[in-house]
Subunit: 446 residues, 2 copies
Amino acid sequence: MQMNDMILVSVDDHVCEPPDMWDNHVPAKWKDRAPKLVTKDDGSNLWVFEGGQIPNVGLNAVAGRPPEEYGMEPTALSQLRPGCYDVDARVDDMNANGVLGSLCFPTVPGFVGELFGRKAVEGETELAITMLRAYNDWHIDEWCGKHPGRFIPLAIPPMWDPERMGEEVRRVARKGCHAITFADNPGALGYPSLHDAHWDPFWKACSDEGTIVCIHIGSGTRLAMQDMGAPIEIMIAGTPITLFNCATELVFSEALQKFPSLKIALSEGGIGWIPYFLERIDYVHHHHHRWTLHDFPKGKKPSDVFREHVITCFIDDAAGVRNRDLIGVDNITWECDYPHSDSTWPQAPEKLWASLAGVPDADIHKMTWQNTTRHFQYDPFAHIPKEQCTVGALRAKAKHVDLTPRVGGGGKKPSDYAKGYCTIGDVVKQMAFALSTPFDSSKGGR
Amino acid sequence: MQMNDMILVSVDDHVCEPPDMWDNHVPAKWKDRAPKLVTKDDGSNLWVFEGGQIPNVGLNAVAGRPPEEYGMEPTALSQLRPGCYDVDARVDDMNANGVLGSLCFPTVPGFVGELFGRKAVEGETELAITMLRAYNDWHIDEWCGKHPGRFIPLAIPPMWDPERMGEEVRRVARKGCHAITFADNPGALGYPSLHDAHWDPFWKACSDEGTIVCIHIGSGTRLAMQDMGAPIEIMIAGTPITLFNCATELVFSEALQKFPSLKIALSEGGIGWIPYFLERIDYVHHHHHRWTLHDFPKGKKPSDVFREHVITCFIDDAAGVRNRDLIGVDNITWECDYPHSDSTWPQAPEKLWASLAGVPDADIHKMTWQNTTRHFQYDPFAHIPKEQCTVGALRAKAKHVDLTPRVGGGGKKPSDYAKGYCTIGDVVKQMAFALSTPFDSSKGGR
């Protein structure tokens, strides 16, 4: 097997929503209240919803920009690579990167639709569910629907009402969507914790429909921003491992015992720490269960529960690949993270292939596409002949795709930072600036 | 090589301070204000200092109790195994476990002397430094001094004053102590962060003296107690990995660049996650440094900086041992964690030997004693012939040590817990109870 023979399906990419996304899915009566993309005096874009601002921040959409210009500054849609928001351009970018399939997380609504959830808390539940369903319909019918076989649809749930969450799971399942987001720490968003029976209607619907619950980093647990004087790398490096706690919560939760077929995907969590994690939870259970009185049915170990229920993924993670036997090679999937700053686009095949040195073909296929197609009920070959799905075949179709970095002049000099390098405090200041400066609503809209 | 041929030196154990520890080291004028062990009406013991209560909590000293009786209830000294607080009994327990050497962290003063630090903040700096020095003198002269070759002394620093920290590093170094504690997140204790030049006098003294800075889990970063309804296992399982953030902070800090010979030990952090950690920090540096403008001298990678400065340790960690080449086998040390609940006492050699299957003798020696003796300037063989230092030789001297569990009747029934198993909330309630119930000071003292 050669690099070009791989089939790559990514379980974690991101869509930067296009300005027209609300056009076809919001009923006339609610149209005026849909989120709108506006242009500020400085030329940057931001979304406005119910008076609140949602800036585009740079690290969310840096694919194709020179690394010198990455950053958290607010950006204009015109600075972004069209693949961030235009699905035809996205498929071109996937082809150029040899990627067959992609599951895309939302940006503007938040990972679990917090934008709408906040309105529900204020009593505007009909506005909230209307916008949320419009989002899911756009995502499934337009973003994923336009290029059959190329996307795995992913819905967002109405977090404020577990019964409605269950209904939405069943509604989108009828439209062919078998993945939905959830928060790694719902308590941090003001909801009951993972250990509350409150969520049972949601778990039950997911279990009934075979819908995968996708828990993305940053969907509840705060990032490590405790020290404003610390290099920003500290926040970035520690983000994937924030799912360690959620993974523990899941394994020891009653939810997985009540719903034996429930499956959870840890999105952008990485895999290199999982062997340690599994050994640790088994150790803790073994050492402590006789006084804590917490036990698992049928003499299972915590690591058994994890392997039965949890799907992991990685971008580029040689230590995890080396130890795939300790993780469970049937539960490892791959991700590209386009267009975020951790993405390996457009060299994903080259980076991945280097990490796969010495791995048998059967294990490569499991990790790069077979596990994903099985878990997510995703059948690309019903739409595209398999021989056209490989890295080599897809790249051959993308000769016209321009991979030249889009230079925008957004880079920083050491003198731009008080310490000569970017700290967490510098990023917080940039974010606060983006949120606080006014925009001219007369220039709004697209 | 057989199990009995191993030489075991533990870099993380704990002393439960004996009631008489202040007798010989507090000047007469301050004697009345030294911490005192008192007995409550329910028979449990607690320490009192300046009107504040410091209960003994069970998971801190469970060695030799039946696992059914572990818990966070406050305990009486009489319920503890004497090896917790009596150094002769401790050496017996080390022998019974085949352990030659031990570095012991404090209990009553807190990992970094917070008990005294709080008084310094209130203006009582002379009281604070007097008690802190008395503690260090007792620890070095009595606890470690009574059995030459068996202990690696470990001081606590006057965190409220970096100049005084430097002085204390140099003072205890003259007494042969080359290890001192520090907090994984000093900001959480109210001090400046790791990224503040504030600490330079301390780092400089440690660097000059070859003193290892020992950063223990729980020395700043809060434990995962976000959800009162969650099984207590979640808090326990996630504690060692709390050092992930500190490890990142260290690598990207200016301190390690300013003081190239400074060495830090991550105490009770485990090692199985280190391969992932090193790959992650290199990935983040590679992907982001062109916009963050943070760089390392001489083209070093973050993983190089880690291996030059940071010493890791493990209790029982097969995944870490398997991947020791990715960690750096010269920086891995072993620990026993006596008498805490994660300890493998008294079967440490058996548990460890199982994790070492297939490891060459040279690597076993490095991880079990050679790295520790080198880094910590610890030379047991100056006091004890090497052939008497092995697991087999030490255990042969411990035939008289009674290993029968001490049954105390402290176990719980499922009906004692609202959920049928112990939650984080149950433990928090027990702790609050221990702190809030009054004690009869007329019965105080030993």
